[in-house]
Symmetry: D2
Subunit: 305 residues, 4 copies
Amino acid sequence: MTDVSVSLGANKYGKAENRIVRIYRDAARHEIVDLNVSSQLRGAALAQSYLSGDNALIVATDTQKNTAFAFAKEHGIRSPEDYLVALGRHFVSSFEWIDGGLWQAEQYEWERIVVDGAEHDHAFVRPGRATRLAAVQTIDGGTHVLGGVKDLTVLKSTGSEFHGFPRDRYTTLGETDDRIMATSVTGRWRFLPDAVAAGIDYNALYAEVLDVLLSTFAAVHSLALQQTLFEMGRAAIEARPEIAEMRFAMPNKHHFAYDLSAFGLDNPNEVFYAADRPYGLIEGTVTRDGAPAAPEAWTDLPAFV
Amino acid sequence: MTDVSVSLGANKYGKAENRIVRIYRDAARHEIVDLNVSSQLRGAALAQSYLSGDNALIVATDTQKNTAFAFAKEHGIRSPEDYLVALGRHFVSSFEWIDGGLWQAEQYEWERIVVDGAEHDHAFVRPGRATRLAAVQTIDGGTHVLGGVKDLTVLKSTGSEFHGFPRDRYTTLGETDDRIMATSVTGRWRFLPDAVAAGIDYNALYAEVLDVLLSTFAAVHSLALQQTLFEMGRAAIEARPEIAEMRFAMPNKHHFAYDLSAFGLDNPNEVFYAADRPYGLIEGTVTRDGAPAAPEAWTDLPAFV
Amino acid sequence: MTDVSVSLGANKYGKAENRIVRIYRDAARHEIVDLNVSSQLRGAALAQSYLSGDNALIVATDTQKNTAFAFAKEHGIRSPEDYLVALGRHFVSSFEWIDGGLWQAEQYEWERIVVDGAEHDHAFVRPGRATRLAAVQTIDGGTHVLGGVKDLTVLKSTGSEFHGFPRDRYTTLGETDDRIMATSVTGRWRFLPDAVAAGIDYNALYAEVLDVLLSTFAAVHSLALQQTLFEMGRAAIEARPEIAEMRFAMPNKHHFAYDLSAFGLDNPNEVFYAADRPYGLIEGTVTRDGAPAAPEAWTDLPAFV
Amino acid sequence: MTDVSVSLGANKYGKAENRIVRIYRDAARHEIVDLNVSSQLRGAALAQSYLSGDNALIVATDTQKNTAFAFAKEHGIRSPEDYLVALGRHFVSSFEWIDGGLWQAEQYEWERIVVDGAEHDHAFVRPGRATRLAAVQTIDGGTHVLGGVKDLTVLKSTGSEFHGFPRDRYTTLGETDDRIMATSVTGRWRFLPDAVAAGIDYNALYAEVLDVLLSTFAAVHSLALQQTLFEMGRAAIEARPEIAEMRFAMPNKHHFAYDLSAFGLDNPNEVFYAADRPYGLIEGTVTRDGAPAAPEAWTDLPAFV
């Protein structure tokens, strides 16, 4: 085996899932930002750590963690995107041998508890409707900012058809002009670099994109989940000029009408069995025409086409 | 070993986690009820199945499943409690050798999606704020109905103290008069048999109990999570005369102020690390004085003191 | 509402899921014990904490955690049962107002990695075949010790029948004399107090019980999962005189023969779809005749009939 | 907004997580293959489904499911790699407009239960040590075959150091020459196209790679998890000429020595707290020198650098 030689290829390292909660308590009415932050660094010069265990250039994952917590105080967290941009810029500018990285966050929403009709100043409940996603990618000399959402679970009890598909030896599925359509949306959107440079109100944008995704899901009479996905992406891009492209992964969470005929009962789409596995899995990208492509922006982001 | 003899003790069997979705579509504005239903039967006469594999009295778990789906059509699902009462009554009355059982449901909430300011007729989003629980227990000749909630995650960013506890050789915890208090509430309540017999609007009651739990969590200035738990139970029992007792399991989801002093930064309860494990686990029962106890009602219910 | 009065019922509190790893490194060949430990205390005198937030008698959950870690050093962990007995005795004897508690552990197995045919001294791989369970319960003036196992997943590809069950309006299941039987065994066993007092080699017993459970599952030609459950309990009790009773929860993990007839293919029990939900759920207790019952020993233990 | 136009970018769709269990029962000694199979198709011509809901070219996800189950009978499952190759070839050759896809499988191991010293013919227990991974990628006119493993959890109780890393304002981590190193290995390897064409005994290769990964983890005295990762990749590539490259994601599962000094106890690396989050996350690629790169082979594979 002595004639086999190997080399180090793509790599990155860091500290994942730092659960950072930032309370703003300057006024009686507190604000809360609740994040799960991951930081990973890349650098061609890091190879020595892999090859020989020489850590002279390895910014410890513990240091990355400390920095993430410290930045929550020093810079605050106006939005997860703004916070990750600051974090990434710090590492790339502080350590000359670090030439890239991936910084990610999940954000968990909190709503104020209502007491006697008024929102409470410092008591919150987690609505759990969806998880917000943000990512900053520094790679190949550029930096990209992405927003997103996951676990946005939606269902239509009618207004969904599926027919006209090809039939071969293995096809048994019947055609339908009325079915339940349900999915749990994972979506990410890449911001146009010019918009990032000009400054974006990321929180307002997130709220608007969520509204657009939901209302489009509701309003589109669906002939295929693929079609609904595309219309959701189109609507978001139309609504917000800062977005260059949208990527989605949408499981088709099957609801099967339960066969009640053996019991002498009719079932006109009233009683369904909600299945776990297998599930359809529909993925797609919607791009703004004219926006420069940046496939490298998506490097290593989980769960995508 | 020939002189060892054994007997069958407590047992039950059935079909767990039937995911039943019921759509009411008589009007353009659809209604949706989304349940996870488990049915299990008990009977002294069932011992033969365990002892010899004689299934003459074993109502198949598949039959229990079919019945659960059929009842969603035949009886509908006004509330999970009403539905489980009907399901349990069916098994006990149809098979003379079945003398008890446990029927449980989780209910997942759906909200209407808003399109152009109006609630959509048949498109929904799952808010995910909490999961509703219901159970019907037939045991020792009686039937008990229980409601509940789980995964209700709440947090106070101030208004929580903890001090005055005893100190021994193993005590290192400092006293505090200002900490984050966060928990994920699991609560179950047992209904008074007389109230069940008279009829209860379970859906309205659930909504009111949730409001009371939230507002009490918010309003109580807490000296211990134990105290908050007790006040939440007291408030629910005071609010609804149908409730005989409340049981809670509340993890103390620790948020530790991150030590930023090494970085020259002060941290006056602004930046926290949200820990996963270990966690405090506080459990307690609040009972209405004068209501007859019924410990058997809680047999086999998961996660309780 | 002023005439409603409430009281505190059953309660307990403590620190859950302390992940304690103990390395024995006195010799070059290290030993590892990997536990997840929960400690909870009970006491009638603790009511003041719930009622008024007076913590004078509340042994902090943080103190319970510290004690659990300290005992891993002071007393070592010969077996999870021995360790929990020492931990429980400490709390009850050190604080006169603590009159009971529940101490639980999961143990994760590690196997030595084999290098060049020899077991390594200090490198391990987690086999993940099952998780060992232990519990010590102090309640009503007595102390009970329980062992157990969960996540022991087994399957028979033949040797399992199911027929002869009653048929009603909701029965559609066909009879079968050959099916896959698969389950994930959760089992707990209660030790006879006399055996505990005399001393038990808990580690050897656990290994033997696991062998007996597996070989009995394999050897019994099954007419119902209930029957297999009972025979597994009988075999364990016959094998070890220290065991007073066995309790099991066994999901029937359904494997459905996939219908290939539409594709012109026969399927003589060769291709199966392994379903997630719903699943059968069979639970039962096997007791040694003559052993005194101790239902209170099972108080609050998760997942049982 | 009328002047915004959008297009469809990268996409794929199919049926995920088909739980297929194949029993070989031609002899008394049964064999079992237990897979979780996902199939997704790509094709430029599929755009019409996304753009207009025209499904004329959409091979239904239900058809993909049926095909996956039927192939388990028609072609059998010699290895997950062989099976996925056949499945992918079928779709690409049967439907001219399908020009690519991604087919993935997880395989769950089963061991024979031992009864009276002999392996049982048809009773099995799941060892759960690791999950095998396989993938076939057809993209850009080429087809790539990948093997892999996940959830291989390993630990060294000594023989791991970490020091010499740079220190900045945010660095507090101490240097250590003796720590626990633990990780859960996810690894994937890409096979050389020539080796695939010549035929590979994938099952034997998997077994050998696992042995090599384990023994290398054990044998390397580690100065950084990065170094261990690289050596594991090197060893696998040296062992098997069929492998072009190895990619790994290795969380550094931190074990912190618990501070017992407040209790008057020494802790010379004997008692550890095993933390959940955050964790280090080390990722890297090891490539065989001279093997042509094929970055497109890794498109959409989960969890990688």
